[in-house]
């Protein structure tokens, strides 16, 4: 029985996808959260001076998406064979492209630049990412409400996590994307995920 320790800030950011996977899997883990002022003294303990980091049986693994992929494979929340796993990862990469555009705006920018950037993002950037996600869903979902195959995978969790950040700013962004809306609802209703979401503490990011 392996032991898992996740180190991150006290927020969702780039750590939440791993928490969602562990929750969906019903796997216990130590959820270490650094406050901003605590972090500098722990920076040198992390291989790349960055978090999130996953520690498995004492060995540290950096890089948020590597951690997520590893956990998804450990707990059978990725595709059932190599090709399906590649489809799951293509969806996750596409969601990450979106997070890489939106994340820095909400995490690092200040007003009034933040509002201008968000408006620009919603007008010129977001639609094509949502269209891309629906395109991949149609290609890989075998007619189901999940992104790949007919079961929950970390593709669904990854998209859910990324879109949560955007829905916080505008709850209507999925109105033109019924498939994505239904997919999000299915994720939130998954028994283990529902329990996790209900008990999760609200954080600023």
């Amino acid at each position: 029985m392996s032991t898992y320790k996740l180190y991150y800030f006290d927020g969702r950011g780039r750590g939440e996808i791993s928490r969602l996977i562990l929750a969906a899997a019903g796997q216990k883990f130590e959820d270490i959260r650094y406050q901003k002022n605590e972090w500098p003294s722990h920076k040198s303990e992390m291989p790349l001076g960055q978090i999130p980091v996953l520690e498995i049986d004492g060995i540290k693994l950096p890089q948020s998406m590597t951690i997520a992929r590893f956990l998804a494979r450990q707990f059978h929340l990725t595709g059932k064979d190599n090709l399906e796993q590649a489809k799951v990862e293509a969806v996750a990469d596409t969601a990450t492209d979106l997070l890489n555009k939106f994340g820095p705006i909400i995490w690092y920018q200040e007003e009034p630049q933040k509002k201008a950037s968000i408006d620009e993002f919603f007008a010129n950037e977001l639609p094509k990412h949502l269209r891309n996600l629906e395109t991949l869903a149609k290609a890989y979902n075998e007619g189901s409400s999940f992104f790949v195959g007919k079961n929950l995978t970390f593709a669904d969790l990854c998209v859910y996590d990324v879109l949560e950040n955007i829905l916080e700013v505008d709850a209507n962004i999925l109105d033109q994307y019924p498939w994505l809306k239904t997919n999000g609802q299915k994720v939130a209703k998954h028994p283990n995920v529902a329990i996790y979401l209900e008990s999760r503490l609200r954080t600023a990011f």
Binding site: K60, L83, K87
Partner: protein, 205 residues
């Protein structure tokens, strides 16, 4: 026996890692290269309107890193178990972080601005990334010259390709990084890689 088709521009760019994996594996594939003026006519055939795309037995996979990971797993170049695969992935993600920072200077058209961005990248940005890669090599490399598990994986191939591009722009950039230089030498020595490098098309990117 699967059939593989790789679609990209006529260049190395984001497809070359997949080509290197095919070469290391000795696997035949159709290497489809679009010239710039041909590409608009094919854009709509690709899931996300982008290349590279890997077509496996008729199924199209976008996203350069996921495609490469799929191929690496197909041909046992990804790490021998889930945890090793995660270590390899962590190296790949760290290389991608460096490439992301390198791209603006590489893509800049204005010569004067390009030179300025390049100088800044090599002086201020790259050293930290190279240091991070050496940290991972020492952490996961078991004292050997390969990044993970004392054998060639696609992490080594990916570093090789990235550093080729870096060295073209600045021939001294690895002078302080003996471990990375040694790792490159190991890759260059692989007979199938040496053969591939000798014969591959010379392209501007």
């Amino acid at each position: 026996m699967s059939t593989y088709k790789l679609y990209y521009f006529n260049g190395r760019g984001r497809a070359e890692i997949s080509r290197l994996i095919f070469a290391a594996a000795g696997q035949k594939y159709e290497d489809v290269r679009f010239e710039r003026e041909q590409w608009p006519g094919h854009k709509s055939e690709m899931p996300l309107g982008q290349v590279p795309v890997l077509e496996v037995d008729g199924t199209k996979l976008p996203q350069s890193t996921s495609m490469a990971r799929f191929l690496a797993k197909q041909f046992q170049l990804a790490g021998k178990d889930n945890f090793e695969q995660a270590k390899v992935d962590a190296v790949v993600d760290t290389i991608n972080d460096a490439i992301t920072k390198f791209l603006p200077s590489r893509m800049e058209q204005d010569e004067a601005k390009k030179q300025e961005l390049m100088n800044k990248f090599f002086a201020d940005e790259l050293p930290a990334h190279l240091q991070q890669l050496e940290v991972l090599g020492k952490l996961y490399g078991n004292g050997g010259a390969f990044f993970v598990g004392n054998q060639l994986t696609w992490a080594d191939l990916y570093l090789f390709e990235m550093t080729n591009n870096l060295l073209q722009a600045n021939g001294n950039c690895l002078d302080k990084h003996a471990w990375l230089k040694q790792n490159r030498a190991e890759v260059e020595k692989q007979p199938k890689i040496a053969e591939y490098i000798k014969n591959r098309p010379q392209t501007p990117f």
